[in-house]
Amino acid sequence: MTLELSGRDQSMLDGEQGPSAAAAMKILVAFSNAVGAPSLLDIAGAHIDGCLYHGKAGLDFVERLVEGGGRVQVPTTLNVGSFDLIHPGMVKMPAAEEVPARRLMRAHLELGCQATFTCAPYQTRFRPGFGEQIAWGESNAIVFANSVVGARTNRYGDFIDLCCAMTGRAPAWGLQLSENRRGRILFELAVPDPEPSDSLFVGVGLFIGQASGDRIPVVAGLPQPRDEDQLKALGASAATTGAVALFHAVGITPEASTLDEAFQGHAPEATIRISRADVDQALARLSTVRDGAPVAAVSLGTPHFSHEEWMRLLPMLREIAPGRRIPIYVNTGRATLTRLQEEGALAGMEAFGLIPVADTCTYVTSILERLDGVVMTNSGKWAHYAPGNIGVSVAFAEMRDCIRSAAAGHVVRGAS
């Protein structure tokens, strides 16, 4: 199949709009040919997962686009970087790594990207609308945009997310197109009258991520979530154990008001039952230690803590009053942090050990003071990746149990 280019696409490719646009279009064309897209389509926005420093080639690429006078053509948000630019000194890194890592964040701004530095761009004023075509990187952001918002993106990654932003175009293929968004595999939650607890959504996410393969999952039988943060947790977990870019939850997500709509009138290719034991087993795998183990830190906010989550956490901190012995790190977007500061919501909270972290995340860079103890988290994604990334032991629990454990100094879970 030959890729059909518009006049403007061709003009970019021919270098009439500068060398950076030409390079971006050339890469986008190679990608689009490889996936068999017939043409490109306009996008309304992009989210770039390119600010974590992984090697010189990544930085060279952005620098070359800057040198060529390149600018992003659509509103473009940035994922986390290696630094908390709001709280200098929080990240400890050798100078040889620090210089290029800081430059990588800065160079993206010179291309006209927004200084959001968040993995939850859907919490910012750049949140897309239902049905909008976008090109996003970062697995949790992709699954949230597709599933919870109903915007349309494929899983874009390295280089190609930025090429979409630089051209304002994406391949007309995959999840950008209605017919490819239908559910393929049905998961029936076989738990009678389930409590809409945070861990239920995490557990279901972990389970469907592992069992879906490349088929779009549809979940039936979920309780109505308390808020979209529970769907954020489900999607992030599913994108952690699998490659899920879109899920439908019947009666909950916008393209699945009924089972029939979720499958666009087709029959599921397979049906899988999720029992209480399946959920419990998926959650149990996240913890590498038993109850009672000493706690070194708590890490919340992966993906980045929303304003609503802060409004649940802050009263909990005041009530349980954990003292400052155990640090409670909370990863959040800088826009959310600014809003909290303007509201005066964080005043005095450091007495409870609270340490807000912006622009980055506690599992991608060196922030934690101690790596020798157990870190508690309410995030399925953090619990999955942190042991490999930064070498900590993890105990997964509901947010309330994380705070209770910080107060007790050891892992406390469940009713008491």
């Binding site: 390079a23 190679a30 996936v35 992984h54 010189k56 070359r64 990654g157 390295d158």
Partner: protein, 147 residues
């Protein structure tokens, strides 16, 4: 760099995802290999413990496998490996792979190094075969295997 190919070589046609010429010994896997988490870009060594190629080195080889696999971060790893000279000399796949294509084309753009990425029939190629990738008159790929 291009070496003469044995006279009794057998040609097979292919389609370039990225055009270029290369020579090297085939390194053949029936199981796709993810560059991210699968290859150390500093050395070219295969580090994926679940892959049968664990411990072998892709640098300078003609890597032959059915398809690419895994995370989009593989694009960065391939581009970085090409920059460092630890990448395969060329890659033959049965099915096109967008992630490897992006990594290769970015390296081409940045460093002017052309690593051919070819879609072709890979049956009958075994590890150690001398493989030459050539550009045909119509711009098509020609894969020559020394007998």
């Amino acid at each position: 760099m291009t070496q003469p190919v044995a006279k009794d070589a057998v040609d097979r046609p292919g389609t370039f995802q990225l055009a270029g010429e290369a020579d090297g010994a085939a390194l053949v896997f029936s199981q796709p290999l993810s560059f991210w988490g699968g290859i150390d870009a500093e050395t070219g060594e295969i580090i994926d413990h679940s892959h049968p190629g664990l411990g072998q080195n892709v640098a300078g080889k003609i890597l032959v496998m059915p398809s690419g696999r895994g995370s989009s971060s593989s694009s960065s790893v391939l581009a970085e490996a090409i920059r460092r000279g630890t990448a395969p000399a060329g890659i033959l796949l049965e099915r096109p792979d967008p992630i490897l294509a992006v990594g290769g084309i970015v390296a081409e753009f940045l460093y002017d190094i052309h690593m051919p990425l070819v879609v072709c029939d890979i049956a009958g190629i075994v590890s150690g075969d001398r493989i030459a990738i050539r550009v045909g008159e119509e711009g098509e790929a020609i894969i020559q295997k020394a007998q």
